[in-house]
């Protein structure tokens, strides 16, 4: 029983990091129908921002977190303005390939500046409590609670504020919404900033949980978060969180009860079956097709 609880705690930690990244994928997809393949690398840059804040500036946890969120948000907006905005009328595939190119560019640019893996110094004093055979660490609790807090914050923005209303309106209709006086470009930039900021927060927390970071760390984590977003129904914010929790839980549970090399196999097979059974994701709605 204690073992189960322990694994659930670990699963929650991994899932909440996936969820923060998946939110960025799903928001961008929802608003401009673009699979932002550079998003995993924004997450990586968030980790490196945290490393720089901690190692060079000597900041403590909260300022470092804020700095990496702001840094990634700026990067996200810059990518959108320079690379995606000129392609909004172009074929969709060109935008996707541009996203892939931007991702590779960011990876290798970081690699040329930081050729060796870096170790993030511990920013938080890690206290562990043992409670009936289950070990809690303060780091784990902070990661889980902070991510859930950020998710509620995002949910509030999207469903309760005028900006969020504009986002939902743009994803609903791109022809008439600008005529209603909604500044489309500005709202799209805000969306990118929010998504990238969350990815930066995820990068910081990932870096604290698994301190060795390298420029290619965003590839696998990013793809997995993307899959989680699709499983939940891409374009749907609550779906992305649900998908991430399914993916994170499956991954941790496979490692807990089977050889760890089976992790990807079992996780991806389950996701494959899930998509085959529900082709539009858990919370996605099937679109009707007209001929």
């Amino acid at each position: 029983m204690a073992y189960w609880l322990q694994q659930i705690l670990n699963a929650l930690q991994l899932s909440s990091i996936y969820a923060l990244i998946a939110l960025g994928y799903t928001m961008v997809y929802g608003i401009i129908n673009l699979i932002n393949f550079a998003h995993g690398d924004v997450f990586m840059v968030g980790s490196f921002c945290c490393f720089m804040a901690a190692a060079f500036l000597g900041l403590s946890f909260l300022p470092a977190l804020l700095l990496s969120m702001i840094g990634s948000a700026f990067l996200g907006v810059a990518i959108e303005r320079l690379a995606y905005k000129p392609l909004r009328q172009a074929p969709r595939v060109s935008a996707i390939i541009t996203a892939l190119g931007v991702g590779i560019f960011i990876e290798n640019f970081t690699l040329s500046l930081a050729p060796y893996p870096k170790v993030i110094p511990p920013l938080l004093k890690n206290i562990t409590w043992a409670l009936g055979g289950v070990t809690f660490s303060s780091l784990q609790l902070i990661i889980i609670l902070l991510s859930i807090g950020l998710m509620f914050f995002l949910d509030y923005i999207v469903y309760r504020t005028p900006v969020g209303m504009a986002m939902r309106a743009i994803s609903w209709d791109k022809t008439y919404v600008p005529l209603m006086g909604v500044p489309v470009d500005f709202i799209i930039s805000i969306t990118f900033a929010l998504g990238a900021g969350l990815a930066g927060a995820a990068g910081t927390m990932y870096g604290l949980a698994y301190p060795v970071i390298d420029p290619y760390m965003g590839i696998m984590v990013g793809w997995k978060a993307f899959i989680a977003a699709v499983v939940g129904g891409i374009g749907n914010i609550r779906g992305a969180v649900i998908g991430s929790f399914i993916l994170g839980t499956v991954e941790i549970m496979v490692v807990a009860f089977f050889p760890s090399t089976y992790r990807d196999f079992v996780a991806f097979t389950l996701l494959l079956l899930l998509i085959i059974i529900r082709p539009y994701g858990i919370l996605g709605k099937p679109r009707t097709q007209k001929v």
């Binding site: 595939v93 060109s94 541009t98 892939l100 290798n108 640019f109 090399t261």
Partner: protein, 364 residues
């Protein structure tokens, strides 16, 4: 009068005899280069990589360009072909005494990959667009992780000690064969079905296109050549591991396809050649050798400050070039256009139905 002559030359003589002559000349060259050591070993190696990349790009273009799906599974099919062929040449076929058995192994690799493509094509009946992209991505990851868990295949450590059986003539043969088959497929009755699926799947079904059969066949042909390319690749590299065929490999192939332009065989060949050669040229020693004609006054500072650092920066320059190309030419180098040599005569005279100029439907 003169344009008319030019036109008729282009339409008839241009493609009636030019293509076979070029193909035969190329075959002769591919035998002559290693035989008389016309180029050094390194350039021969690059030529083989170019050939393998052409096969990969043309075959992925069949699914992603002509059929309008977004498949990410190509590296997975490649690894199936590579492992099948490598096992055959290492443990089953006596290739040491009978080198002519090698094409059989390559063929088997392609067939294995084509067989596994059923998994993707059957799911594509119900699932389309971005969700199919995820299916193919998951397929790629599953293939990788299955191979990692089979000890007989070396697991994550990989499979060393493959014989170097891929030669320049064989690479050339498979390149010509794949281009020929895919070109004929695209301009066949099935090819019309493939294009119809890209334009509108439901409408094409209503117009009696058997979409399921067309999809199975298209994915199978595409995967077959991915497997062939994987088999050739394994016998050049002489070592394969699951990590060789991961998502980064797929990304490379995707870049070559969209660099060249979708739904264009000529574009795919150009894209593969440009990408492979440019990446090699950006290696410091090659760039230095090319720029060595400059006077020392210019060459030395350029060499010291720029060329010596290219080893790290070439992977930064390459994606930057790709992004710039996409920004200024979103269709790639020759998206939806085709060299007239590749187009059958009757199609050329009737206009080019494979490329509706301004009627591109996005894969939804």
């Amino acid at each position: 009068m003169i344009p008319m002559i030019q036109n008729s030359w282009k339409k008839t003589a241009g493609q009636r005899w030019l293509m076979p002559v070029l193909v035969v000349a190329g075959l002769g060259t591919s035998f002559a280069v290693p035989e008389y050591a016309l180029f050094n070993k390194y350039i021969q190696l690059v030529m083989m990589y170019v050939g393998i990349n052409i096969i990969l790009t043309v075959s992925l273009n069949l699914v992603n360009g002509y059929m309008g799906e977004f498949s990410l599974a190509h590296a997975g099919f490649m690894s199936i072909g590579a492992y099948t062929a490598a096992l055959l040449t290492m443990r089953v076929l006596p290739v040491m005494d009978h080198p002519w058995l090698f094409p059989l192994a390559v063929m088997a690799g392609g067939l294995a990959a084509g067989f596994f493509s059923l998994l993707v094509s059957v799911t594509s009946f119900r699932i389309r667009g971005d969700y199919l992209a995820i299916i193919t991505l998951a397929f790629l990851m599953i293939v990788k992780s299955v191979i990692e868990n089979i000890d007989y295949l070396g697991g994550p450590r990989g499979l060393p000690g493959i014989r170097k059986l891929t030669t320049l003539p064989w690479t050339y043969f498979w390149v010509v064969f794949s281009v020929w088959v895919i070109r004929n497929f695209v301009y066949s009755k099935y090819g019309r079905g493939v294009l119809a699926i890209r334009e509108d799947e439901i409408a094409s079904e209503l117009m009696t296109v058997n979409t399921q059969r067309v999809k199975i066949l298209t994915f199978a042909v595409s995967a077959f050549f991915a497997g062939v390319a994987g088999a050739l690749f394994a016998h050049v590299l002489q070592f394969i591991s699951p990590r060789v065929f991961d998502i980064i490999k797929t990304t490379d192939i995707l870049i070559m396809v969209y660099l060249g332009g979708i739904a264009s065989i000529g574009g795919s060949i150009l894209g593969a050649v440009l990408f492979t050669v440019l990446l090699e040229l950006l290696r410091p020693s090659n760039t230095a050798a090319i720029l060595a004609f400059l006077p020392d006054v210019i060459f030395n500072p350029v060499n010291q400050h720029f060329i010596q650092h290219l080893g790290v920066w070439r992977m930064v320059i390459m994606p930057l070039l790709l992004v710039l190309l996409m920004l200024f030419r979103p269709h790639g180098i020759m998206g939806l256009k085709e060299f007239s040599w590749f187009i059958p005569r009757l199609d050329l005279e009737a206009g080019h139905p494979a490329a509706p100029e301004d009627n591109i439907h996005e894969p939804a």
